[in-house]
Structures are given as C-alpha cells and as structure tokens.
C-alpha cells in the first residue's frame, strides 16, 4: 500500500506536467465543442478578446476600461484552461496505465499450426492472426493473441495484465482455458485457437478503455448535460434580455443604456453551471479510472452507472461470505466412545490428507489433546487416498482400518461390512448439517466412533457489511452448491437476505430473471462457461479474469484479480460516481445565488442606485465585484479537481441520510462558501486595484 502511494506520487509530477500541456492543446475548437457548457465560456473568452482588440483601437462603449476587459479575458481563458486541466489530469492516470499495457502488446512471432493435426506449419507475425487461426506457444514465449486452449496445459505469467506475479495454470477444457494476448507461457506448451480479430483483442479493449479513447458519454452523463445546457441557455437569455430590459428602463428614465457587454459576458459565465460543466467529464473518467485501479475493467461506462443502481447482489458463498475452506471445529463421539478416541483416529485418518480441511483436523486434534509425533513416513502406515468412487479417505495401520467420509458413503461402507450404522451418529450428522456445518464420520474397523464437525468460517465483518448494504437497500443473495439445510444455517449466520442452495447455472439464471421481473437490478460474479447465460442476463456481470472466454464475453466487466468480493467495491465505485455528479451539480447551481448578489447591484448601480442594498457582501466597487465573482468561478474549478477525481465521501447508509448529508455539505455549502470566498477575493482585488 505504502509502495503504491509512493508510486502514485512519482507519477503525479510528470503526469501534472503532461496534463498542463494537454490543457493548452485542448483549447482547439473541435475539442472544446464536445463540452457545451465550457464551449459557451470559450466563445465568451473569444468575444472578450475580440472586444479587447477593438478597445485598443479606441472602439469601446465608454463604460469599461481596456484594463478591465483584459482582466476579464484572462480570467475567462483561465477558466477554459482549468476545465481542460481537470479532464487532462483525469485522463493522465488512465494513460499511464495504458502505456504499461501497450508495452505488453508488441508484435511477436506466432507459430501457426494446422487446426486438425496441430502440426506446426508456418511462422507468422502476430498482427496477421485472424479469428479461428491455431497457434502453438512454447515455454518462455509470449502468447500472441486472445484465444482458447485446445490442447496442453501450462503455467502462464499474466502479470502484464493483472499485476499479479504468481503464475496461473491454463489448460484445455474446463473453466481455465482462456488465455490473453500479451501474457507469457512459463512452462510447457499450449495449442491455442484464436478467438478475436486483430485490433479487437482484450488487451486492445483494455487499452482503449483505460485511455478513454473509446469513452462514450453514458446515458446519465448525457441526461445531466441536457440539464446543464438548458440552464446555460436560460442564462444566455437572461443576460441577453437583461440588456434590452436595461435599455427599456433607461429609456423610461430618459438616460443612455448603462450596461456594458463585458459585464453581461461576465454575468453569463458566472451563472452558467461552469463548475459541474468543467468537471463533468473528469468525474466520468475518474470513475472509470478508480475501477481500473481496483483491477476491474468495465466494457462500457454504462456498466459503472448500472453498478450504482444494483440492488441485488448474487454472491458466491466461498471466498465472499466464508473463508475458502472449512475447518474442523469439534469432535463429537457417539455410542459411548470418548472424544479423545475420535480425535485420535480422525487425526490418523487425516495425516496424509493435504486438503485444508484435512490439515485443520490434524491441527485441532493437536490443540485439544496434544496428539502429535506420528509422521507419515512411518512405514506401517498405508494411506488410502480420497477417490471419486469411495468418497472416503483414511489409513490402514497395524491391521486397523480407519476411514473418514461423508455420512452416506460411510453408512454404505459400514453396512457393506455387515455392521449396523449407528443411529446416534445419524442424529449428530443431521444436527451438524442444520447448523451449517459439514459432518465427516470417522470409523475404526467398520465401527462408527464419532463425527468431525467441519465448520464453514464466516469471514470477519461480513455480517456488518451486509447489514450496511441492507440499509442502502441492497439485498445480498448467497449462491452455494451446499444443500438447503446447510445453506440456510450459513445464510443466517452471515446475515444475507436470501440464499440459493444447490445452485446450478439454470437456477442462477432463473433467480436473476425473477429479481429483474420484480424491478431489481442484479449483479453477479462468474467464471465458468456455464455461468455465461446468467452473466449475460445480469445487469452488472463481473467475469473473473481466470474464467473462460465465454464468461468474459457475456459479462460487462472483467475482474483481473478474480476476487469474489470485488462486487462490493464495484457497487461502491458506481454509487460514488453518481453521487459526485449530483453533489457537484448541486454545488454549482447553489453558487449562482451569491454571484447574482455580487453582479446585479454592480451593473445596475448607475440606473437604480437603491439596488446597492442588494450588495450584501459590501464589495468595494462594481469592477472589483465582477472580477471577484469571475475569479471565484475560475478558482473553484481548480479547488474541486481533487474531489472530482477522488469522488465524494461514500458511506453505506440509507438514501435518506445520504441525501441529508450531501445536501448539507454541497447544497448549503454551495450557497454559503461563495459569499465568503467572493468577499475575500474582493478584498485582494480592491487592494490591487488601489495599487494600480
């Protein structure tokens, strides 16, 4: 974490310089027109510059000085630059990430093979590969294109994409068959069928997304922009009609129209929602970039917005709700046997069992009864490994047959030997299942001694997490392959709202459809090919990077870490993005009140001196008042860039509290802050004007 922070800072300096350059380049009209609100400022800056030119040749209205026009022009150009800077900084982060990705996308030699015989035929440039080509990749070679493993198994270094240095296994068939271009085979070899056309690879998509090149405006961004454009249009009319109103008022009073065009330009720029207008695209890019930093790639910006709306999360039990592995919690003797006896044979049965469950049994026995010292190297031990047929494992030791296994299988095994299966054991097994545990029955010479209680360990803090989510109106549904009894117990302990037991791809799909029919938006994570239909149906579908190509294509996000808890983070980022937009819009609009109080008395001073009462900030002069409002308008953009990039504070509370909090901070804050700030700026400006 510390290291990363240091790295970010390093990046910051060079990134800021690049962003500074970029903000000047973005002054080109074709860039400016993409942002309608700022385009209005841009036009105003051009107009003011033009009027400045005229005034230098003494063509002026006699109301304002050239010096004033010059100051206004400078502030307006700065306003444009600040907005460009905000966007450039936001893009900068993505660019840095894209650069490192591009390094992975170099052209390499691809060994094309025949699709049927898989015999090597010809070497070609990786750029020439098309869909359905077959290629061979040997150890220490880079995989030239996205594809699916057809033959072979190999360990692959995917750090170029995931940043994770531990190699992963890729093999033909199953859920680990997808490979990504730009990753490197470390051992063995793979025959790969290319699944993407050139230029459309996963890496290309990633680069496009993080670079922002493919960044389309999202529906909500467009809707907000419509509001901002409409407000700007109203303010354009307000200022234009103000000119004619003042002309009419002046002619009623029989005087010359005392309003300068420059004043109106200043008023227009102050009123137009420039704060949110300038930061809108930065907010969007930063949201995407936060997602990328969480090692999640969204295939569209729309997906992030949907993440904010999600109100049903389908969470895989293993890894999200429980720690990956069950642990032995208790030895329960039956039929008069002692607990220590059970512990003893359970440990013996598990000595060679390398699974985490097995290890936990050995450890528990050691902890409870100090049983130790028996090594698996002892020649007398004959270990019986777990097989799919017997579903039991154990050890034969000095003519004693020790076994452990699932209750049903052990019952068969016991009965097959002509023994009676213990009824007390049945009861214990049932009890453990009800508690959400997994029972393993242990036997010695076909006699049931007792039961090992394997417990699913609920992750620390999940219950609180789910309670917070519930407050936000998000339901959590646990997906598990366990039987309903076990699932219900774990669900109750973890505090999820509901569970789907003995989940199959079909039942997942059905669950998603049912929730959607009730008007919910559903998010899920998936990896296997059989998850693809459910992923395609879900509103936010996160495919694990370790998963298959089919799963990745069906999802609208890819989690490079393949972490099951990522959904929670994605929802947070989505909500934060929307909240930032809303809060800054509120702030921007609330600002306008103070700007009116600064500018209106200033420009009507000559016409109706009594309007001076409205100058509640007691700004020193009309010139200073207008300049101060404009300066505030420009500086607030810079001041809010960090907030736009980081996003507003996110808390897991109900909508009501969120609204109250954000209204207080950004609504009331937006109303009050500019009054103070403009007054402060006015003090400085009037001091400067006095010196001149």
């Amino acid at each position: 974490m510390e290291e990363q922070k240091g790295k970010n800072k390093m990046l910051d300096k060079s990134m800021l310089i690049a962003a500074l350059k970029e903000s000047f380049l973005k002054l080109a009209p074709r860039d400016e027109i993409k942002n309608p609100v700022m385009f209005l400022v841009y036009i105003s800056a051009l107009l003011t510059t033009l009027l400045l030119g005229y005034s230098l040749f003494n063509i002026k209205d006699g109301i304002v000085t050239s010096g004033f026009i010059f100051s206004v022009a400078v502030i307006l150009w700065l306003t444009c630059l600040f907005s460009n800077f905000a966007e450039a900084v936001a893009e900068g982060r993505g660019k840095a990430q894209a650069e490192s990705l591009k390094a992975a996308r170099k052209n390499v030699v691809a060994h094309k093979v025949d699709g049927i015989t898989h015999k090597k035929t010809v070497d070609a440039d990786s750029a020439s590969l098309v869909k359905n080509d077959y290629i061979l990749v040997n150890a220490n070679e880079q995989i030239p294109a996205d594809g699916e493993v057809i033959e072979g198994a190999a360990s692959v270094d995917e750090s170029a994409i995931t940043g994770e240095s531990a190699p992963v296994i890729r093999e033909a068939g199953g859920d680990r068959s997808a490979v990504t271009g730009g990753t490197t085979v470390l051992s063995d070899w793979l025959i790969i069928k290319v699944t993407q056309e050139p230029g459309k690879s996963f890496l290309d998509k990633m680069i496009g997304m993080v670079e922002g090149a493919n960044r389309k405006k999202t529906p909500n961004e467009i809707a907000l922009e419509i509001l901002l454009v409409a407000l700007s249009l109203i303010f354009l009319l307000v200022t234009a009609s103000l000119f004619t109103y003042s002309a009419l008022s002046a002619s009623i009073l029989g005087v010359k129209n005392p309003i300068s065009i420059i004043w109106l330009v200043a008023l227009l720029v102050c009123l137009a929602p420039t704060t949110i207008g300038a930061l809108l695209s930065a907010i969007g890019i930063a949201g995407m970039s936060r997602l990328n930093q969480a090692n999640v790639l969204a295939m569209s910006g729309r997906a992030i917005e949907a993440a904010g709306d999600v109100d049903v999360l389908l969470l895989d039990k293993t890894g999200t709700i429980t720690l990956g592995n069950r642990r032995a919690a208790e030895f329960i003797p039956v039929d008069g046997h002692a607990e220590s006896e059970v512990a003893d044979i359970a440990q013996l049965a598990s000595l060679a069992d390398e699974t985490p469950e097995g290890r936990s049994i050995v450890v528990l026995a050691k902890k409870l009864y100090g049983l130790r010292g028996r090594t698996i190297n002892d020649q007398h031990f004959k270990f019986v490994p777990f097989t799919a047929q017997t579903k039991m494992s154990g050890v034969d030791y000095a003519g004693i047959e020790i076994r452990k296994g699932a209750a049903d299988n052990v019952a068969q095994y016991v009965q097959a030997a002509g023994q009676k299966y213990s009824t007390a054991c049945k009861q214990v097994v049932e009890d453990i299942s009800k508690k959400g545990g997994t029972p393993l029955v242990v036997t010695r010479d076909h006699e049931v001694y007792g039961v090992i209680y394997l417990k699913d360990i609920i992750k620390k803090g999940v219950k609180e997490k789910f309670a917070d989510l519930r407050k936000m109106g998000i339901q959590t549904i646990m997906i598990t392959g366990d039987n309903p009894v076990t699932a219900a117990a774990i669900a109750a302990e973890a505090g999820v709202d509901d569970f789907l037991a003995q989940a199959t791809p079909e039942s997942k799909l059905k669950t998603i459809r049912e929730f959607q029919a009730k008007g919910h938006l559903v998010a899920m994570t998936g990896d296997g090919t059989n998850d693809a239909p459910a992923l395609a149906q879900a509103d936010v579908a996160v495919a694990m990077n370790s998963g298959t190509q089919a799963a990745k294509e069906a999802g609208n996000m890819v989690d490079l870490d393949s972490s099951p808890t990522k959904l929670l983070e994605i929802v947070k980022i989505g909500k934060q993005l929307l909240m930032t937009r809303g809060s800054l819009t509120t702030f921007s609009i609330a600002n306008d009140i103070s700007k009116y109080f600064a500018i209106i008395p200033a420009i009507f001073m000559n016409l109706y001196p009594q309007l001076q009462v409205l100058n509640i900030m007691r700004l020193s002069s009309p010139t200073s008042a207008i300049l101060s409002a404009l300066i505030f308008n420009a500086l607030i953009i810079v001041a809010l860039i960090p907030l736009a990039l980081k996003g507003v504070k996110y808390r897991e509370v109900a909508a009501k509290q969120l609204l109250n909090h954000n209204l207080l901070v950004y609504g009331i804050g937006g109303l009050v802050i500019p009054f103070i700030a403009i007054k402060a700026i006015d003090l400085c400006v009037s001091l400067l004007l006095g010196l001149l």
């Binding site: 809707a223 419509i226 009319l237 009609s241 109103y245 002619s251 950004y666």
Partner: protein
C-alpha cells in the same frame, strides 16, 4: 394573525371539497364506474356514435396529434368568430369584428387557458362571441389540460405498454362528469348571490345623479352640474367641452354561467373588462368565497386524483403539501405587504387604492395571490395599485410556471416536470441513476422535462427581451421608472404563465403586443403539453423498478423542501435581474 385567520376558510373549504372530488376523478383516469355512470353512460355512448369516435386507446403520438389538431381547429374557429362577429347572430350592440391581431391574441389566449384580454368584453364582444366563442373554449381548454394530466398519470402507472388513453374519451368524460355538472352548481350558487344570468342584453337606466365628463370620457372631479342649462363648472369656472351624462348602460349577460367556468376552469377571462372587481361578476363576500373556492377546487383535487390513481396516496399528498407551502408563503408575504401598502410623501401609507371596499385589503390580496398561483387570472382589484412587493409576488407566482396548484391539469403536470428535475439531482446525490415512481429518467425523459419546466421562462424572456427594444414599448406604459417596467414585465409573465391577469396600466392592444403575447401564450402552453405527453409515452413503455431503502423517497419532508428550492431557484435565477429592474428597484426606491 387576524389576516391569516381570515384566509383560513378560503383554503379549508376548497380542500374539504377537493378530496372527494379528487377520488372521484381518479375513477375517470382508471376508467372505473362512478355513481354518475348510470345516468351519463347512455349520453356518452350517443356522443361517441354521433362523432364516430373510435374508442381504442392511443399511443403518445396519436394522443398528442389529436390534442394538437383539436386545439388548432378550436383556435382557428375562435379567431374567425371574433373577426367576423359583425356577420354573426346575437350581436345586439352591433360590435364590429376584432382586428386580426386582436383576434389572434384573443383566440390564442382562450385556447391556451390563459384568458389574457386586450379588450373589455362589454365594449367589444357580442353575445355570440362570448358564448359560442369564449365560453366553449373555457370548457374545452380546461378539459385539455386535465386530459394531459390523465394521460401522464396513466403513463406513470402502466408498465411495458405504449398506450396512454383515448384523447376524445378523456375530453368528453371530463366535460360530462366534471366540468359541466360543477359549473352548473356553481352558476346556481352565483345567481343566488346576485350575479345576473340573462340573454336579454344590456339595459339603459337613468342615473341617480348626473356625471360630467371631458372630451376623453374621463369624469371631471369636483364638478358642479347645472342640469337645466347644461353647464358644468369647477370652482365656479365654466368647463367648455364637458358632457353631462344622465343615463348609463347596465351590462347584462349570461354572467353567472361564464363566471362559474372562468373560475372553475382556471380560465379567468371576465365577461366585463373589470372582471370580478365588477359587482355584476362578484357582488359580495359570499360570491367571492364561491369564486375563490372554484379556482382552487380542481387544481387541489387533481393532487388527490394523482395519488389515488397511482395507488400511492402519499405521492399526491406530497405534491399537495409542496403547492400549499408555496401558496401559503405567497399569501403571507403579499398579505403583509398589502397591509402596509404604499407610502407616499405628504400622504402617508395607502393600501386601499385600486381595491374594492366590499372586499377590503385582505380579500383583495388573497384573491391576487390565488388568481396568479392558480392559472386563473381573474381579478377583483387593480394590481397596478398594489405595493411593489405585492405585485412582485403575483409576478413570481406566474414566472415559476404557476405550480402552486396552478391551472387545471397544467398546474400538476407542470409541477411533475419540476419533480422530475428534483428527482434527477437528488437521486444522483444518493448514488442512483434517477428514477421517479419506479420509472427511469434517461436522456430523452430529461430533455422533455427540461423543456416542460423551462418553456415558461423561455417564452417570457424571449418575448419580453425582444419587445423591450421596440420603440413603441415605452408609450404603452403608464407609469415611469421601475414601476413602468413592472407593468411591461407583468404582461409577459402573465402570458408566459398562461395566467391572463393584467397588472393594469399597460396598453397591450397594439399589433406588436397582440402578436408577441399571443405567441408567448401558445409556446408556454403547448411546449410543456407535448413534452409531458412524450414523457407519458416513454414512461408507459418502461418496466417498474423496485423500491428499496436505497431509492430516493419522494414523499418525505426533505423532498418537499428540495422541490421547493428547485422551483424557486429556477424561478429566481431566471427572473432575478428582471425583478431587480422592476418591483425590487420600485420597492427600494420608497424605502
């Protein structure tokens, strides 16, 4: 405090009547049977057969197209009636036809439910024009407003369909079940208070006391009249070109029925120029109570219709509360300002100028607020004589688009436009993409909502902004300075709010203003109608999203406050500079 107590019955009576009426109308929205169905269904059936009306439901395009053609035909018909009333029957006073520009203005005014009048009825309109022309539109334009709201409610309620109702069925049902019976009852009550109802025409009667007037027809003050020698003297000095008037014409029309629908349909166009300040339109405090109740009745009731139709009563109540707070605030400020009146040097405070003594200050200021808060625009006093703040409150109520109950249908659908804007910003602040009543607000819905909310400010700003620089504008003003500007601003605010009330003191019957104000009225009426029908259509096609604790609540206090702020901010931001040049400068000048 005493003032506020006086207001109470005027607010409680309409509320008490509005609740059952609202529930009744929700049955019309949903097409359910009512207690009147038994009697009216056969009539309804006959009308459908006569006009060969296809009773199938329509999508938003068809609904809008039918509505617009219906209004267009009504508009052209009315314009022709007014222009050629001299060739039409029931013109006992032999009035000439209106000028084209005035006919355009008046037709636009009545079709848009504005009822801005650049003329005085008793000096310009035949009985035929009054009844077949204006009264018909008073009913129809009100029904159109309610129909749009009905379609919008259906759009919000339905899921995954395109249909939002049948326009003709809505219009006929609203007329038959709501407007006609209610205005019949109100007419009867008004007749009982002394409002005339006759087709006999005006009557000429002897004056109790003769009056002297100058060549312009203005009464001569302190005149001493020698009737025998026909000589008029003032302070012993003979006035040469004075005329002695001994008889007057008493304007008798079918007033009661027209006054009933003018208030009930929030139309506001009076039979007489003086509108409800005239004793023949509004003779006493009882008729005053009846008329204020009639103005508030339908707009209030529709809030409950909204909640009941959606089976979400709280949503309707929230909107009712928001509107009520706006109205009550305006009442208090206006009331206080009028109690204080205008202070003039050497004279002191004046607050009865321009007000009828039978209503006094309280009831006049109450009326001025309610007539501008609803989209009625009828008047019982002269606003030109109100205090600067009193006039400003009336102006602001119109500039915010008349959503403090507002016009029949239009008040609530206008408010729903603001609700959508509020929901948009507030939803984002809780980290959700915006939705209202389970329907998403995407770019297209937003474009339409913005259009609906901003049509009024746009129309007012464009119309007044352009005409302000016309050289003749100054000549149309009576007062100098900021108060003169208020007269001008008020006219456009009234047209843009589809209100129709006049500040007075502004001569609007010029070609320029007739056309400019007419266009402003048409834009401010039909842009929001189209926009909201588009929203209705799009909402109907959507699925309903589920409500959770993460959803923005649109029924709590915070939402009411936020909605109020959005309305005020849009209103204030759009008109603060204009108000500064008008009433604010006016107010500050005298303080």
């Amino acid at each position: 405090m005493k003032m506020l107590l006086q207001y109470l019955p005027y607010l409680i009576l309409p509320l008490v009547l509005a609740i059952p009426l609202g529930i009744f109308m929700s049955k019309l929205v949903l097409g359910e049977k009512t207690f009147m169905t038994k009697f009216l269904a056969p009539v309804e059936g006959k009308i459908y057969r006569w006009f060969r009306i296809d009773q199938a439901e329509m999508d938003w395009k068809k609904y809008t197209l039918n509505l617009l053609s219906f209004s267009a035909i009504g508009f052209i018909f009315l314009m022709l009636v007014l222009k050629f009333q001299n060739y039409l029957p029931l013109n006992s006073q032999h009035f000439a036809g209106m000028s084209w520009s005035l006919a355009f203005n008046t037709a636009a005014s009545f079709v848009t439910n504005t009822n801005w009048q650049s003329y005085s009825g008793e000096f310009a309109l035949s009985n035929f024009s009054q009844i077949v022309g204006l009264t018909v539109q008073n009913f129809i334009s009100a029904a159109v407003g309610i129909a749009v709201l009905f379609a919008l409610i259906r759009g919000l309620k339905r899921t995954s369909v395109k249909l939002i109702g049948n326009f003709w069925k809505d219009i006929i049902r609203i007329l038959l079940y709501v407007l006609l019976p209610l205005s019949f009852v109100i007419s009867l009550v008004l007749v009982s208070t002394g409002v005339p109802q006759t087709l006999s025409g005006s009557r000429t009667v002897e004056l109790v006391q003769p009056v002297a007037v100058n060549q312009d027809g203005a009464p001569i003050m302190n005149a001493h009249i020698d009737e025998k020698n026909k000589v008029v003297t003032v302070n012993g000095k003979k006035i040469t070109n004075a005329t002695i008037v001994t008889r007057e014409e008493v304007p008798l029309y079918a007033q009661a029925s027209q006054v009933a629908i003018k208030q009930l349909g929030t139309n506001g166009g009076g039979v007489l120029g003086a509108n409800s300040a005239h004793p023949f339109e509004n003779p006493n405090p009882l008729s005053n109570l009846v008329q204020i109740t009639a103005m508030l009745l339908l707009p209030m009731a529709l809030c409950f219709t909204f909640g009941y139709s959606l089976k979400k009563k709280k949503e309707g109540i929230t909107i009712f509360v928001t509107m009520f707070v706006l109205l009550a605030t305006a009442l208090v400020i206006n009331g206080l300002a009028e109690q204080k009146g205008i202070s003039l040097a050497h004279i002191g405070n004046l607050n009865l100028e321009g007000k009828e003594t039978r209503f006094g200050v309280t009831l006049s200021s109450l009326w001025s607020v309610i007539t501008t808060a609803t989209s009625t625009g009828s008047v019982n006093a002269s606003l030109d004589s109100f205090s600067a703040i009193g006039g400003m409150i009336a102006m602001m109520l119109m500039q915010i688009g008349e959503v403090a109950f507002g016009g029949v249908g239009s008040g609530l659908y206008g408010m729903l436009g603001f609700v959508i804007l509020t929901v948009f910003i507030a939803s984002l602040m809780v980290g959700r993409t915006p939705e209202y009543l389970g329907k998403k607000i995407g770019p297209k819905e937003m474009r339409m909502a913005v259009l609906a909310c901003l049509a009024t400010p746009l129309a007012i700003l464009i119309g007044s902004g352009i005409t302000a620089v016309f050289p003749d504008t100054v000549k149309s003003l009576t007062n100098a300075g900021a108060h003169g500007f208020s007269e001008f601003l008020y006219a456009f605010s009234s047209a843009g709010g589809n209100n129709g009330s006049a500040f007075g003191g502004f001569s609007a019957n010029t070609t320029t203003f007739n056309i400019a104000l007419g266009l402003v009225m048409l834009l401010a009426r039909f842009l929001p109608i189209i926009a909201l029908l588009v929203i209705a259509g799009r909402m109907a096609q959507q699925k309903m999203t589920a409500t959770t604790s993460g959803t923005l609540s649109t029924t709590n206090t915070v939402f009411v406050v936020l909605l109020l702020i959005v309305i005020l901010i849009i209103g204030v931001l759009s008109f603060f500079p204009a108000l500064a040049l008008g009433p604010i400068a006016d107010f500050l000048a005298s303080h």
